[in-house]
């Protein structure tokens, strides 16, 4: 090991924190451009959807339990369950399904 682990950690942390903190601190006013505003309005939905599927299928021991968790979670959220309940529903479905798979 010729490199110092603490220097690696320092570099990682500085890069990550800069990425997270700079936009929030530098963009202080309201963005007026309609297209840019609309883009930022759609970003959360797209980003979270893209991160959820198909990744949820590979998070579990079996793709079937992951798929069941996806369906159950979508249904629970559709019928207005809270964040915590949707999350718990997904976990419970995986746990129960994997008893049988």
């Amino acid at each position: 090991m010729t490199h110092e682990i603490y220097i690696y950690i320092l570099i990682m942390s500085v890069v990550t924190l800069a990425i997270r903190i700079l936009p929030l601190t530098l963009i202080r006013g309201e963005i007026k451009n309609v297209t840019l505003k609309s883009f930022l309005y759609y970003v959360p939905y797209v980003t979270l959807a893209v991160m959820t599927f198909p990744a949820i299928l590979d998070a579990t021991q079996s793709q079937i339990s992951g798929a069941l968790a996806l369906i159950a979670g979508m249904a629970a959220a559709f019928f207005g369950a809270s964040l915590f309940k949707v999350s718990l529903t997904c976990c419970a479905v995986v746990f129960v399904a994997e008893l049988f798979l």
């Binding site: 942390s13 939905y45 959807a49 968790a69 996806l70 746990f95």
Partner: protein, 237 residues
């Protein structure tokens, strides 16, 4: 402390509980990677405290394990975590413009996928104390979990890890599905995101998930913005 700040803190803490628990479990596995890279529990703790990012840290640990040049870890961290730049930009618009620097700084400190998810789901302007409440569970969950993973290896049974690992996805669904039900354009955007993400996963499997997320977000949100620009009063969602 103002009553509304106190309430936001409590609500953030409440919504943060599943995040903290999920993080604890996921970061255990990250700790195992960190151990292979030669990190001790304290080093794992501080890495996770200051980075709080699964893919980014994982990539970093691989670089450390390879004893690669320092610039490599800077580059790989930048690529793996670049999506947070978009999230931070979105949150900048969710703050009231007179939010002081230190609140922007500390909220920025912990913009993770999950904390971003729950903060954009808040109605109206964002109270920084909501994020602080969530950080109270997220930061210890993630950094202590990493340190434990380095110390103990994988002591949790696989069935528990498997079940808890979908907690974070459940949270994302709770954020995107209700607005998708209410608004047809958001619904179509979510459906297109699912479909294209699946296709990209099959067709360009060599792209890391972080890079894929950025490309798809730029393309899909970009197209939606051009085709369906948002009217003035809809932007606090």
């Amino acid at each position: 402390m103002l009553i509304e700040n106190k309430r936001a803190l409590a609500e953030g803490f409440r919504d943060g509980v599943p995040i903290g628990l999920g993080y604890f479990v996921v970061s255990f596995t990250l700790g195992i990677t960190a151990k292979h890279a030669g990190l001790n529990p304290f080093q794992g703790f501080i890495t996770s405290f200051f980075n709080n990012a699964s893919a980014g840290e994982y990539a970093g640990f691989i670089v450390i394990a390879a004893d690669a040049p320092y610039w490599e870890i800077a580059l790989i961290t930048l690529v793996a975590n670049a999506r947070y730049m978009l999230m931070s930009t979105v949150l900048s618009q969710k703050f009231s413009p007179d939010t002081p620097f230190y609140h922007r700084f500390f909220v920025g400190f912990d913009v993770t996928d999950e904390i971003f998810g729950i903060s954009v789901a808040r109605e109206g302007k964002l109270n920084p104390f909501y994020n602080y409440g969530a950080m109270l569970t997220a930061l210890p969950g993630w950094s202590i979990g990493t340190a434990f993973g380095i110390v103990a290896g994988n002591i949790l049974p696989p069935s528990a890890v498997s079940a808890l690992s979908v907690a974070l996805y459940g949270m994302f669904l709770a954020v995107i599905i209700p607005p998708a039900k209410k608004d047809k354009i958001i619904g179509a955007t979510v459906a297109a995101s699912f479909a294209l993400s699946f296709a990209a996963n099959k067709m360009v499997p060599f792209l890391s998930s972080g890079t894929r997320t950025i490309f798809l977000t730029l393309i899909i949100a970009g197209i939606a913005a051009v085709l369906y620009p948002v009217k003035e009063n809809e932007n606090d969602a």
